[in-house]
């Protein structure tokens, strides 16, 4: 074959050149959009850290607020947030995971399960302020828990529950159906199948979904403000167990709101430092979730 024909056989036609041009444009648009995500993150974090710099030290974390909350640290709010987050997840994670197992593994297509599904979906769409009012009515007044950590945690639990159910169902559904059928074929019950094959292979996704709810529970202001979080609570510096569960507490989200808008004369860097702590808490939790997922995935078996 002569060189001329070889060249013409593999030369770009105008159609191919147009295709390649579109491909390049598409790639850059997608890449640009993805990169644009990074900009606000860097700006937010950078701005916060720079403004917060004068107050950012361990002392700020451990110290209690002083002089009518215009100086000092954020320890009571920090511990309060930890209380609320762990208590609410201790309630919503077991209920959510077990409910999701039922919905995904057992539930047939009947009116009862359709009602449950509908409830889960709608609950996920309820704004947090409505959850706050519900928690106020249900836990503070009806259940007589009063304005307390319990009421606030339960309200947060109700709020995170539908999302935990949804994410758990998703990870359960990612286990191939053929695994279940293979187990059923040898005479295993549904529960034996779930315990030995389905759960071990979906646990990474389930845990990730639960942990990601920490950031939501930590960040919400309205639900806890209505049900058990107060402006100020006097506690010892660095005290790990300053609250009883039937008491009110402080929380980072609420504290940030208060010192930013309600208290005059707050030292300028304190609100920013509070925001950095809140953000740092969320980042740490998310990083834990990601590394846990990577670890569990590395043991995934197919």
């Amino acid at each position: 074959m002569s060189p001329a024909t070889a060249q013409s056989r593999f030369a770009e036609t105008p159609a191919v050149r147009r295709k390649l041009r579109q491909e390049a444009i598409a790639k850059w648009i997608f890449c640009g959009m993805a990169a644009a995500m990074v900009v606000p993150l860097v700006l937010i974090v950078g701005y916060l850290v720079v403004r917060a710099a004068p107050s950012l030290n361990l002392e700020f974390l451990l110290e209690v607020p002083k002089r009518g909350m215009t100086e000092g640290g954020i320890w009571p709010a920090f511990v309060g947030t930890l209380y609320l987050v762990f208590l609410s997840l201790a309630v919503s994670a077991p209920i959510g995971i077990l409910a999701a197992v039922y919905l995904n593994e057992y539930a047939g297509d009947n009116w009862f399960n359709r009602v449950i599904n509908l409830a889960v979906i709608n609950l996920a769409g309820v704004p947090s302020i409505v959850h706050a009012l519900f928690g106020l009515g249900a836990f503070v007044y009806a259940a007589r828990f009063g304005y307390s950590i319990i009421s606030a945690s339960l309200t947060l639990a109700i709020m995170t529950l539908p999302v935990i159910i949804a994410s758990t169902r998703e990870s359960l559904a990612s286990v191939p159906r053929t695994f279940r059928e293979a187990c059923w074929n040898v005479g295993a019950t549904r529960w034996q199948t779930i315990r030995s094959v389905v759960l071990p292979n979906s646990i990474s996704g389930i845990l990730t979904g639960v942990i990601l709810q920490v950031s939501r529970a930590a960040g919400e202001t309205a639900p806890v403000m209505f049900t058990g979080v107060v402006f100020f609570k006097a506690v010892e510096r660095g005290d790990l167990f300053p609250y009883y569960l039937d008491e009110q507490c402080m929380a980072l989200s609420m504290h940030l709101y208060t010192i930013s808008t309600q208290v005059p004369g707050v030292k300028e860097s304190i609100p920013f430092a509070t925001a950095v702590v809140l953000l740092g808490l969320v980042v740490i939790v998310n990083a834990t979730a990601i590394s846990l997922r990577v670890y569990l995935r590395s043991r995934k078996k197919w």
Binding site: E181, A182, C183, N185, V186, G187, A188, S196, V197, K301
Partner: protein, 254 residues
């Protein structure tokens, strides 16, 4: 042999998914310790038939089954424990399914879920089943490695070992060879010839020649009905009763 002595007796079985009927009232018997070949194009109800026999059809929502299937004279829809029924029936799916467990646990899964936990008993079952499935020599040194990491052909033999692990009396194979190479297929076919001494085998297959090689009797299903059920010699011989059977086995169907 009378009908009552058939190992499996199917009478007027009908199955619908929703409003669509896929098996239209079929009746036949399967004799003890025979290999029954089931051939027929896709969508003819072969797999659904197997799922009715071990009642895993129950896991598919919105199905309706009528008629009876008797195993050892007992109606499968009225057995006291469906799990005991399923343990009597080994089932091998078209694509190999290594459970995401170790090779050992794959085979020990069924005995364990039946309540057997003594290590010595489990060891014996695992070795026996892996030997029966012609896999023992290849995996005996790595029983703790993952079943899902085996090659396709090995996984299919692992699937067969698992199907044998609950000591079934009936073995159902659903197109077991579509994902494995001819050499492995021949090895498994040799295994089946050995197994028929102790169990009844239902061999659903798309390879008509496979039915010809192995089956004592062959059933040709088409669109949810039995076109013809006779000895393999007749079905593949000069004079099957139905013209469609001849066309199908000769490859000029349709």
């Amino acid at each position: 042999m009378t009908a009552a002595e058939n190992h499996i007796e199917v009478r007027d079985l009908r199955l619908s998914y929703g409003l669509k009927e896929v098996i239209h009232g079929i009746s036949f018997g399967i004799r003890r310790h025979e290999i029954l070949g089931v051939i027929g194009p896709a969508q003819s109800g072969k797999t659904s038939l197997l799922r009715c026999i071990n009642r895993t059809i129950d896991f598919t929502p919105d199905t309706h089954v009528s008629g009876t299937i008797e195993v050892d004279g007992e109606d499968v829809r009225k057995v006291r424990s469906v799990y005991a029924l399923r343990r009597k029936i080994g089932m091998v799916a078209p694509l190999p399914v290594g459970l995401p467990l170790s090779i050992y646990d794959n085979v020990a899964f069924a005995p364990r879920s039946a309540g057997l936990h003594r290590r010595a008993d489990l060891d014996a079952i695992v070795e026996q089943c892996l030997r029966q499935a012609a896999l023992w020599d290849e995996v005996k040194d790595r029983l703790e490695s993952l079943g899902t990491k085996l090659s396709g052909g090995q996984q299919q033999r692992l699937t067969i070992a698992r199907a044998l692990s609950h000591q079934p009396e009936i073995l159902c194979l659903d197109e077991f060879s579509i994902a494995i190479d001819p050499v492995t297929t021949m090895r498994i076919e040799d295994v089946l010839k050995e197994l028929r001494k102790h169990m009844t085998i239902i061999l659903v297959t798309n390879l008509t020649q496979q039915a010809r090689r192995l089956a004592d009797r062959t059933m040709f299903m088409w669109k949810g009905e039995i076109v013809e059920l006779d000895t393999t010699e007749v079905i593949f011989g000069e004079n099957p009763k139905d013209q469609r059977t001849r066309d199908y086995v000769e490859g000029i169907f349709g």
